[in-house]
């Protein structure tokens, strides 16, 4: 009998590791040993093959107003069939959906729906579009892609609500079947991403540019967390980057933080901070800046981007929460001055 402990351990490690696979979906490039999962908890090495274990098992399905995603310039006022599977490749300390995003597939109850069945469900409830949301749709990439392809054939639109932490090649492939995306730009500094999200900023910025290039309707959300990412200079730099790289017409949503997960020690974001951030963004030159998760006087309204519009003070779209009180946009234009308001306002045939 061999007693050389070192050699035995080495052999065992070698046997366990020699069928390691590398997941190339996101910039983490997880090297996954047999029987183990990647950092997202859903992509597992089963006998040398990378398995998307969440495929076909959405754990949350709801019909939401599209304003909840938030998307303010895409089919406003329409209900959207929203799905999620377990898992996320980020581990944000302030995650608002940690009960399903920070767990593996085997830890939550789920529905069993193939892409075709999912589309049938969406059509049954007369939804115009499907949102891949709540957790991270890019970790259940194959399911998102197959559902999106089937949805497009059935005449439905596809919406991603994502943190945008993915490699460029799979993103470009997915972008061809996606119509709109809301990307969560969590902060504009890399140390924040490393410390609070287990991720990096650069791939997220690349995602924003790629989605724009691929013609996906893009909106950005920035969850403003007190003391962590509420510095106005940083917000100014972020807005400058958006303006320069994406243009002034990308809607930006400053969202209010609620204490959740591992940031229960922090207070909710004060309303004044969100208003201040909105002012900074509008002063920087962005046309459509909104405040979310908070009732304000006009923080959710869309106004005409033309500074000389005779009815500029009157909102084009007036909202309260997720409800639209009035939508005056006519064929994508301001009725008073005829200026085009960027967005997808009506479902095309």
């Amino acid at each position: 009998m061999k007693t050389d402990k070192g050699t035995r351990t080495l052999n065992r490690d070698f046997n366990a590791m020699h069928r390691t696979v590398e997941c190339q979906l996101c910039p983490k490039y997880c090297r996954i040993a047999p029987g183990r999962s990647g950092d997202c908890r859903t992509r597992v090495n089963v006998e040398g093959k990378l398995v998307a274990t969440s495929y076909g098992f959405p754990c949350a399905i709801h019909i939401d107003p599209i304003e909840k995603k938030p998307l303010f310039h895409f089919l406003p006022g329409s209900p959207i069939f929203s799905v999620a599977t377990a898992g996320c490749n980020l581990h944000c300390l302030g995650c608002q959906n940690d009960s399903i995003s920070q767990v593996g597939v085997e830890e939550v109850d789920a529905f069993e729906l193939s892409p075709d069945q999912l589309i049938q469900e969406a059509l049954r409830v007369n939804s115009l579009s499907i949102a891949y949301t709540y957790t991270e749709p890019l970790t259940y990439y194959e399911y998102t892609f197959d559902c999106s392809s089937a949805a497009r054939k059935a005449g439905l639109k596809n919406v991603l609500v994502t943190a945008g932490f993915i490699n460029e090649k799979p993103l470009r492939r997915l972008a061809r079947v996606v119509d709109a995306a809301n990307v969560d730009l969590k902060a504009f500094n890399d140390p924040f991403y490393q410390t609070n999200c287990s991720a990096n900023l650069k791939p997220v910025l690349n995602t924003l540019e790629v989605l724009r290039e691929e013609g996906v309707w893009l909106e950005i959300t920035n969850l403003v967390i007190p003391t962590l990412n509420d510095d106005m200079d940083e917000i100014r730099r972020m807005c400058g980057w958006i303006l320069e790289r994406l243009g002034p017409d990308v809607p930006l949503h400053f969202s209010r933080f609620h204490p959740r997960h591992r940031l229960r020690n922090l207070p909710p974001t004060p309303g004044e901070t969100l208003e201040q951030a909105r002012k900074v963004a509008m002063d920087a030159g962005l046309h459509f800046v909104y405040v979310g998760n908070l009732r304000t006087r006009d923080g959710e309204n869309t106004t005409c981007p033309n500074p000389s519009c005779p009815e500029r003070s009157r909102p084009l779209v007036e909202r309260i929460g997720f409800e639209i009180l009035e939508n005056r946009i006519t064929q994508g234009r301001c009725p008073a001055c005829g200026t085009t308001v960027p967005g997808v306002w009506e479902k095309l045939p």
Binding site: V21, A86, A110, Y134, E142
Partner: protein, 56 residues
């Protein structure tokens, strides 16, 4: 470098050489242990439109 370190280095090189970087992503035949805890019945429309506390 002692014998153990040498063997570890050789093993590491062998691991790298045999790592399958192009393994296809599959989802059929997934062992039971990776499946959801419980399969829920299909929701009806009333259940789908009920208010919930998930963000996004």
């Amino acid at each position: 470098m002692n014998r153990r370190h040498f063997l570890q280095s050789v093993a590491a090189l062998m691991v790298l050489a045999r790592t399958d970087l192009s393994a296809p992503v599959v989802w059929s035949g997934v062992p039971r242990r990776y499946r959801p805890r419980r399969i829920k019945p299909r929701p009806d429309k009333r259940e789908l439109t009920r208010e919930h506390d998930l963000a996004g």
